[in-house]
């Protein structure tokens, strides 16, 4: 049995909708999980008061609860992934704080301001070992290399080359760290790291949406009307897909697991194929056949009258 939503929000049973909204806002301000990252208790509390608010702010659900027809949990839907789940990972670098200059920097990479004594001690011993500086590069990978993973060679300004292993499922703006490939260290200290920001070139016909990939697939009139097997390019190589008879432009089909391949803990995405009927070069036989037909009732522009 879930907790009583009235006591969760701290309002009496006869509270007005306005009182409930105010009580909810007050609690949400205090416990919002994105403002209390890492605080499990705040997260649980926020979930509970959100659920209580959802139930009590809906007059119908509230009445059903008051009559004892439903319990305090109501129908809870899974909450969307919240900001902190991204901001706590490397993806959060997109929104690194830059002191109001508006440009994303390498905020989380700098420790100097936090541990100034550690770094100052290093400076005070000019002959002591010191780690070399990190070097920053950017690399544009092809769409398929970023999806499937590949090794790309990066030529540095000084003519040296760096082999960068791009993992499968790499996202635009992701930063790869190559340990020890930055500036050399001093006095026997380790070399710095190379930080490589990956950009992804667009593909001629694939489009990426998270782990899924979208593709517009041209099919002939014959394939659309009669159906049949068509070859579909996928990031992992061509596969054969069956088109049902009567398919049309805009019909969408899903090839499960043919999107971005599984990597790490992330499951493989899907490939969404949208069919596009293409008439092709003039076909006298088809034209003659259509001329011999009675005009059909079908008007594709029905409902378009302005």
């Amino acid at each position: 049995m879930a907790d009583d939503p009235y006591s969760l929000l701290g309002v009496p049973k006869d509270a007005s909708a306005d009182d409930i909204r105010k009580a909810y806002r007050k609690l949400a301000k205090k416990h919002h999980p994105d403002l209390n990252p890492g605080n499990k208790a705040a997260e649980e509390k926020f979930k509970a008061v959100s659920a209580a608010n959802e139930l009590l702010s809906d007059p119908e659900k509230r009445a059903r609860f008051d009559r004892g027809e439903i319990d305090g949990s109501g129908a809870e839907k899974p909450p969307p992934r919240s900001y902190r789940q991204y901001a706590d990972t490397g993806a959060g670098e997109r929104y690194a704080y830059a002191g109001g200059e508006g440009e994303a920097g390498f905020g989380a990479e700098n420790f100097e301001d936090l541990f100034s004594n550690l770094f100052r001690d290093r400076g005070a011993r000019p002959n002591g070992p010191a780690k070399g500086r990190d070097a920053q590069y950017s690399l544009t990978a092809s769409f398929l290399d970023a999806v499937n993973g590949a090794t790309n060679r990066l030529t540095l300004p000084d003519g040296q080359t760096l082999d960068v292993k791009i993992p499968a499922g790499t996202e635009e703006g992701q930063i790869l760290r190559l340990r020890g490939r930055g500036q050399p260290g001093r006095g026997g200290g380790p070399a710095g790291d190379a930080l490589i920001e990956i950009h992804i070139a667009p593909h001629r016909f694939f489009k990426r949406e998270g782990q899924d990939i979208r593709l517009d697939l041209p099919i002939s009139v014959r394939e659309a009307v009669l159906g049949g097997k068509v070859t579909v390019p996928t990031p992992g190589g061509a596969v054969v897909m069956t088109v049902k008879p009567g398919a049309d432009t805009g019909t969408e089909m899903r090839l499960r697991g043919r999107g971005v391949p599984a990597h790490g803990a992330v499951a493989a995405g899907d490939l969404y194929v949208r069919l596009m009927v293409v008439v092709g070069p003039p076909d006298e036989k088809l034209a003659a056949f259509l001329r011999g037909q009675e005009a059909p009732d079908f008007n594709p522009r029905a409902g378009m009258e302005a």
């Binding site: 919002h32 994105d34 998270g210």
Partner: protein
């Protein structure tokens, strides 16, 4: 990458001018340019946070940049701490014990 149509399906009450303004303010930083914005998952999550800050937590737009900059600083700090934690995991056990003692 996520297109702008998906954004307006998920955020039914969001006005296009609002989104344009927030992108212009760099509160949200999608790829591409006007007319062809492409969003990462984190951009969507951040948009949801901004909408919640404004609508549920009653942070008005004038105060939002201050709140967002504080939020960004908190997460910068958390990512730094994670890096520090990773770096410490690579230290010899006696040094880890020393650090743990000093931090207790």
């Amino acid at each position: 990458m996520i297109g702008i149509e998906t954004i307006f399906v998920q955020f039914r009450e969001l006005a296009p001018e609002e989104l344009d303004r927030w992108i212009a303010n760099r509160w949200i930083r999608p790829e591409g340019g006007p007319g062809d914005w492409r969003f990462h998952e984190i951009d969507l999550a951040r948009l949801r946070l901004i909408v919640e800050l404004r609508d549920t937590l009653e942070v008005n737009e004038a105060a939002l940049p201050t709140v967002l900059s504080l939020v960004d600083q908190v997460y910068d700090m958390r990512r730094r701490m994670q890096r520090l934690n990773q770096a410490m995991a690579g230290l010899p056990p006696d040094m880890v014990a020393l650090l743990a003692g000093a931090l207790q």
